[in-house]
Amino acid sequence: MSDYILYPGCSMEASARAYYDSLKAISKPLGLNLREIEDWNCCGATEYLSVSKTPAYALIARNLALASNQANETHSVVAPCSACYLNLAKADYYMREQPKLGKTVNEALAAGNLHYVPGSLDIRHLLDVIVYDIGLDSVEKKVVQPLTGLRVVPYLGCMVPRPDYDHHWSDHEFPVELDFLLKVLGADVVDYPLKTECCGGHMPQISPSTAFEMLRRLISTADERDGDVMVTICPMCQLNIDGYQGEMNQFFGTNYHMPILFFTQLMGLAFGIEPKELGFGLELVSARNVLDTLGVKAPPETPPAPPRRPRKPEGLPMPTPLTKPQIEALKKEVVK
């Protein structure tokens, strides 16, 4: 059994429940013993650090301080969410590099009788732990249902490999750990050059057209390369590609159907775990084709929700545009 302190993060309990469920399901066969940080709080996601630095770092460091109180044999904190992983690693790194920041943050933590010594914990992403600690050989031994014939598109997103403070990954621009893991599971791995491109993050709320273009690049390339399913390690990426795919299709008049799953879900399938335990069916773009390809009996699909009624128009009414014959007719009138 390998012991790790787990920082789940908010999304694992909500939008990425499939990730959490599948992680719990595969941790037993992998021999992963995950102890959750007690009374953990939100990491601040991508925004807080750019709003106010000191409270943002204190918010993150509170989790590190709690984790270090819980650290006995192990000093490794594992975060499955990319944003959480990046924030924890960032706080640890900058508290180490800038002693002044470390001091201020610890002053804030002292209000809650907490203290964190920068560098005392080893902050890891779940994929890093599975590939480098557990090892691809051990993973391969657990495979009972190889993902043969399934064309998977490995997609990491931008936050995990960069800036890679403590050199955990093979390369910042083109890390290949996920590719190798999926190969071990028996899948047919698509060469996907956009594996570390940004999914748009919170851009759908800020500028939907920009976000849709970013998603279109990711989804169309996966589709052009004959991918059956995209596989990610990040709840944010999963949410954007899954949740906004419909709106993106509407925006561009396209008809893509590209499901996206968490890598832990595919690991679970390969280990022969029931799809239901792995959170299958929670995705919006149905991944039923994955189960069909592998011949896994699928749980009954929930009927699609009735289409939302279009919103009432708020502005003033628009004149209808002219049709071509109308324009021709108008021209003739002018000539007369």
Binding site: D171, E173, F174, V176, D191, P193, L194, R217, T221
Partner: protein, 679 residues
Amino acid sequence: MTDNIENTSPSDAQEKIGVYVCHCGTNIAGVVDVVQVANWAAQSLKHRGVVIAREYKFMCSSPGQDLIEKDIKELGLNRVIVAACSPHLHEKTFRTACANAGLNPYLCEMVSIREQVSWVHTDKVAATEKAKAAISGGVERVRHHVPLQPIIVPINPATLIVGGGIAGIQSALEIADAGFHVYLVEREPSIGGHMAQFDKTFPTLDCSACILTPKMNSVGTHPNITLLTWSEVEKVDGYVGNFSVTVRKKARKVDEELCTGCGICQEKCPKKVIDNVFEAGLGYRKAIYTPSPQSVPNRPVIDVPNCTYYEKGTCKACDIFCAPKAIRFDQEDQILTLNVGNIILATGYELFDARRIPNYGYGRLPNVFTSLEIERLTNAAGPTNGNVVMRDGKTTPKTVGIIHCVGSRDKNYNNYCSVICCMQSLKFAHLVHERTGAQVYNFYIDIRAAFKDYDEFYQRVLDEGTMFVRGKVAEVTDVPRNENERGKLIIQVEDTLVGKQRRIPVDMVILSAGLEPRKDSKEVAKTFGISCSVNGWFIEKHPKLDPIATMTEGIFIAGCAQGPKDIPASVAQGAAAAARVLGRIEQKEMALEPVRASVIEEKCSGCRICNGLCPFNAITFHEDRMVTEINPALCQGCGTCVAACPAGAITGTGFSNDQIMAQIEGLLMMNIEPEAVTA
């Protein structure tokens, strides 16, 4: 070899010490009160043997040296202290001055009050006190100095040159033409190095083969050159003037005497192998091969791991067709011992492996090429007869992007500039445009076209309509964003002159990969007893004033082994190394510094701790007597073993325990009061 210690001890004669304090313009005088220091030395050190103390603006100048010489003659000085710069710079100057006045030069001691005092302090009072302490230490030390004589060693006139690229070839020809024997050892089956792979050379666009092959042939036929190709140096023993070098001559499986170089064996051999060395992986060779038709010597080798005969026991096609019956399947490696006086290392470079930058796609995207591949592609004798085509072997590219600084000037890979890539990229731009009419883009950080006629070539390439985009390329991708980009390689780059991101679709990408030291340069350096920089380039004796010698006497470096450089610079350095060796040979013998470590055998316990520490391989262990001995000609006097010996059995001439302890005593005699310093 002469005995280097005369029997005089400090107590025999009354020391008469002269102290000379140098201003070094304002270098020292700007921070240290030299007049005060000199007056202090004359007054306060009188009882310790100082009879005269002077200060002068430039002690190293002729009038400065005359001061010392005059005092030695008139006052009968028998010890001299020069408080000035580092001994690295002017120890020789002042020792010579002493010798001119009849004093043994090793009775002169330099105290560095520039590098160790004035250049590193700003507090004038404290610096002056520190200078006094340093001089006090020097005075105590010099009293223990004894007259020494330099060690004279004979010079074997034969020279070993390692590496048969253009630098090694130049060195070999210079020395051989002067009438002395040269052994040229080359790892590959033929000499010529990287230059033999090129089509054209910048900036004149000379045909590389046309200017190189005459030199290669001269090496091959020169009566004074013993050419050992397909060979490697395994071991180097001995010292300057008298090296003994062990060379492994790998089995060619071909009798070089009988072979006529007709080439029928290569024609008939049924086994085709990808040539990763000469053709840079872009072409094929046979299992019995010479790298190129112009190879010197024109004798093939059998590639044993790929030969069908060694794999299956049958075939022998080469043997059947060989008219003079020169194939020797049972030939074995030969070990040769060469005796030489000097060694020149010209082991060259290796190309940066562009697969290390995965976002440039080399090895993943078929139409991304490295610079060396393009050299072969443009070469009329290359795999495509000089046609610039894409990886499918037939399509001519319509647009080509050349990326500079791949693996160079990048803190993720190599910090240094690889020097040749700018000019090489300009050459490719010209050649590709000339052969295909393609639109060529260059993506550069800075254009470094220094040296004669280089910038003119840049102007010429600009006039030809080549596009230049200033910015470091982010990635090369085959993922299109619009229809114009479909089926192309897209170069994503920040154009720093416009301040905008650009995406430029091209058919072919050329990565101008940087130069790296040989993978085994650190082991090679250890074999020859020289040092490598962190990057792995061989370290020269002085970066400006002696880029040819190394800290090990008798070992010289030339060409890219010392650092990235182009062909003219490699040739110049090769010739310069040869000139240095010829100077040595002409002298027939040379004087070595007598600063050497020696073992006091009675004290040596035979623990062998020192044995592995010597960077110059000067230490040998006598199993029979269980004692260690230091070869004085090989020893460079670095003192590592002296410090390491737990029994104190090793002593350094000029750095004896007495001398070091006396110097420390002298330093401590100056009790620098903290208050005095801050005042």
